[in-house]
């Protein structure tokens, strides 16, 4: 990288930081003001004995909240998370995977639309053409993914066809050792998807999960079916999977891996390259969500670039304020990219200190 470019990047990093600090102040004001605030946070502040509106002056100050406890999101009443400032608008409730215990819930009004409209700006037009129809093959039900992908398609002028997969059922089948039934269920999902893909030639874009993508590509060439872009997410992806997808599954169809969840929204990826070992590098949707990579034993210490640590998420939107949430993932900290001048994360995977207690299924 040239000195001029480096300087430019540093300048943009500084601009991002200033914008992030200003946005942090605005969001804290919103969630802690008696007029617009969120019942949970108003109650929290009353007990904490300090006023975040006065003491939070920048993003770094959010460390004062300590780590957000995900148990707070389990169970009800979910309206405690609804900001007064959003009263009267239609409310959605979304849940996380539910593979462990009571699922975490997040109420939303506008976030999923805003997040996916921002994400839409990062999709290359030639691979995700405006006006093209989509098909979403993956979890729907209580997950925000279903509405979000449909909104993405609509935002780009398309219609989104849907094939559902219930990951909680898949996890049960695996736990029961019903592997043959799991395969039959997967085949049931794939059959529906292939029927739609063959019947609707304007479907040019797909959202699906890694396992389902593999299963579809065993049956058909997506390129021959006219697919131009694949947006893939929902579960962990390894560089080896991405390499396999690019080299062997997709015949040149554009592959966009993503990292996202109900709490954060959607991170965008740096384009995959063989030279970079198909490393999967994601950048969060700043300033609405930020990811840091922290020392698992000291979660306020951000690790050095290239160092491994645990993913720490902060969500800053008018719908939701979640400061310093420690995810169940680990990764390496990645330097800012010219397209995304803030920290990214490399090769996100389940947090190794938890062992392998979470079953990852076909979805």
């Amino acid at each position: 990288m040239s000195t001029a470019t480096a300087t430019d990047l540093e300048l943009r990093q500084q601009q991002v930081k200033e914008k992030l600090d200003a946005w942090t102040r605005e969001i804290v004001q919103w969630h802690f003001s008696p007029e617009t605030g969120t019942p949970f946070w108003l109650d929290w502040a009353a007990k904490a004995g300090w006023d975040p509106r006065k003491e939070i002056t920048c993003y770094a100050d959010l460390d004062k909240f300590g780590n957000f406890q995900d148990e707070w999101l389990r169970g009800g009443p979910v309206r405690k998370w609804l900001p007064k400032g959003q009263a009267g608008k239609p409310v959605y409730v979304f849940e996380t995977g539910g593979s462990t215990g009571v699922p975490k819930s997040r109420v939303q009004i506008d976030d999923f639309r805003i997040d996916y409209e921002m994400f839409s700006e990062t999709l290359p037009e030639e691979h995700f053409p405006k006006g093209a129809d989509w098909i979403s093959i993956g979890p729907s039900g209580p997950r925000r993914l279903r509405l979000a992908v449909e909104h993405l398609a609509q935002h780009r002028g398309g219609i989104c066809f849907m094939v559902d997969l219930d990951p909680r059922w898949v996890i049960k089948l695996i736990k029961w050792g019903e592997m043959a039934m799991m395969e039959r269920y997967k085949a049931h999902v794939i059959d529906q998807a292939l029927t739609l893909l063959k019947a609707h030639p304007n479907i040019q874009c797909i959202f699906t999960t890694p396992k389902l993508l593999e299963a579809i590509c065993e049956k058909v060439s997506l390129k021959k079916l006219g697919i131009k872009g694949i947006f893939c997410g929902g579960t962990e992806m390894t560089p080896q999977f991405c390499r396999f997808a690019v080299e062997e599954l997709l015949d040149g169809v554009y592959f966009a891996p993503t990292y996202g969840n109900t709490l954060m929204g959607l991170a965008v990826h740096k384009p995959l390259t063989a030279e970079d070992g198909y490393a999967i590098v994601y950048y969060p949707p700043a300033p609405r969500a930020m990811i840091e990579v922290v020392d698992p034993d000291n979660p306020t210490r951000i690790v050095d670039y290239g160092e491994t640590g645990r993913v720490r998420l902060t969500t800053l939107t008018k719908d939701t304020f979640i400061p310093r949430f420690l995810e169940r993932d680990e990764c390496e900290r990645e330097r800012p990219h010219p397209m995304y001048p803030w920290d990214g994360v490399r090769n996100v995977r389940p947090f190794s200190k938890f062992g392998s207690t979470v079953v990852e299924g076909v979805y």
Partner: protein
């Protein structure tokens, strides 16, 4: 660091996902192993029929000769290992490094594998009951004076393989000579033997395309079992339980092998101590054919005392000591966990660790930076005791007292029974028992097995099914 690639239809493939298996003593990474994602495995198996057809181009007779040549290459030659080559001595040291097995035991296992490859004709004769293998070439023929015709039950044999002892690889090797391509998932600590066997066969002229070698995770193993026409699965109780209802998969779980002493021989138990000790402790107790139970109608405590006194003499020695009789655990935490499990079981009244009096330092021992479990003999006064029928990965056995009349019903599923008795009724009970996988009548160590005998199922019958068959010349119809 040494790297072992995946073999996709015989072609090396270096994955971006790797596992590093440590040396059992230093715990430093010893070998890096490419890991296959499950989609890659599944994709390679999409054209299983085409791969199967390659082997149909050979006659069994040719494949037998290849196996015999491969046996010599396996035993004596330098063979490819990733970008490196591996000498027979490297092979021995590598297995020892990642599994903890002393060199002398690895060599014995190596000779087992060699024996099956070299004596493949005898092995196949045993599995097919002496059938002329040309029946498999033609699809039909005559055996024992009767028309026979066999068809393959699948286009390949998948095998999810264990880490405990290399000798187990003898079980799948005959498949290649029976024209079944192989799809192997090696254990993370024993990637060496399957790779070397494959290389020996390729050097002997076997087409590389018929070999799949896929180090992979739990999901990848499931993909192999789901995708292959026939499979073998080696694993613990939990691993095999998930697949117990799938007839395509031959399950190899714990053996719970036993030595049984009849009323007529139990008073002479001292004459049989060598056989019993060999059954318990050979190969460091790591095999499913090691005895984990010694059943007697009476004098159980005396038998246990006598075994304990002898087995307590086994002490850890360096890996390259030709007198080494016990192996350390590759993962010390496993040893500690097993020992705690045994101690927990001993809290239940009715069982005692008879070996404890001989080893003041305890069951878990340290030697040259390695962790061992020293031989352990329990005396259980009832078959109902929680430790009466357990199997662990070291020289361990429970001596159980039980009346002879109901002994055969009480032993439960048992891979190998060595019955030391001349009592005809007891012998007949054992011969009729569905619980007994392999039966040795007389003082034959459970570890002594004939490779012409089936093992937890007959591989030939696993790979082939017989159909009814008649033939008449078409010309006869016209006339």
């Amino acid at each position: 660091m040494l790297h072992i690639p995946i073999l996709r239809k015989g072609r090396p493939y270096v994955s971006l996902t790797v596992n590093r298996t440590p040396h059992h003593r230093t715990r430093e990474p010893f070998v890096e192993i490419s890991q296959a994602n499950s989609g890659l495995v599944r994709r390679d198996l999409l054209d299983a029929e085409a791969t199967w057809r390659i082997l149909q181009g050979f006659r069994c007779e040719e494949l037998v000769k290849m196996s015999q040549r491969a046996a010599e290459y396996f035993k004596d030659d330098d063979l490819p290992l990733g970008d490196a080559t591996q000498s027979p001595e490297d092979y021995v040291k590598s297995i020892s490094a990642t599994t903890g097995l002393p060199h002398v035991m690895v060599r014995k296992n190596m000779m087992k594998i060699y024996g099956v490859m070299a004596e493949i004709e005898s092995v196949l004769s045993g599995l097919t009951r002496g059938m002329d293998l040309s029946v498999l070439d033609e699809g039909y023929g005559v055996a024992g004076g009767h028309n026979v015709s066999f068809f393959p039950r699948g286009y390949n044999l998948g095998a999810v393989l264990p880490n405990n002892s290399p000798g187990v690889h003898s079980l799948w090797i005959p498949a290649i000579v029976m024209k079944s391509p192989l799809v192997l998932k090696p254990g993370s600590a024993e990637p060496w033997s399957p790779y070397r066997v494959i290389q020996a066969f390729i050097k002997a002229g076997c087409p590389p395309e018929v070999f799949g070698y896929y180090p992979t995770d739990h999901g990848g193993a499931g993909t192999i079992l789901q995708s292959c026409g026939r499979s073998m699965l080696f694993g613990d109780v939990g691993a095999v339980k998930s697949w117990k209802n799938d007839p395509r998969i031959e399950l190899h779980g714990p053996g719970y092998s036993k030595v049984i002493l009849g009323e007529d021989c139990v008073d002479d138990y001292e004459r049989y101590l060598d056989v019993i000790i060999h059954s318990i402790a050979e190969n460091s107790g790591r095999s499913c054919i090691n005895a984990s139970g010694v059943w007697a109608p009476r004098r159980g405590r005396e038998i246990a005392e006598a075994l304990a006194a002898r087995l307590a003499q086994i002490q850890p020695k360096p890996a390259d000591d030709p007198e080494a009789k016990i192996a350390p655990f590759a993962d010390p935490r496993v040893a500690e966990r097993i020992s705690r499990m045994i101690d927990g079981g001993l809290n239940e009244p009715g069982a005692v660790d008879v070996t404890a009096q001989y080893r003041p330092g305890g069951r878990v021992a340290q030697f040259e930076g390695c962790t061992y479990l020293l031989p352990t003999i329990l005396h259980c006064d009832s078959v109902e005791h929680g430790l009466a029928n357990k199997e662990f990965l070291f020289p361990f056995a429970s001596v159980v007292e039980h009346p002879q009349a109901s002994m055969v019903d009480a032993i439960g599923p048992t891979l190998v029974v060595t019955a030391i008795t001349s009592n005809e009724h007891l012998k007949q009970q054992l011969l009729a028992s569905p619980h007994v996988g392999r039966l040795n009548l007389g003082p034959i160590p459970t570890m002594k097995i004939g490779w012409d005998q089936p093992h937890e199922g007959n591989l030939f019958e696993h790979l082939y099914a017989r159909r009814a068959f008649q033939q008449q010349s078409a010309e006869l119809v016209h006339h």
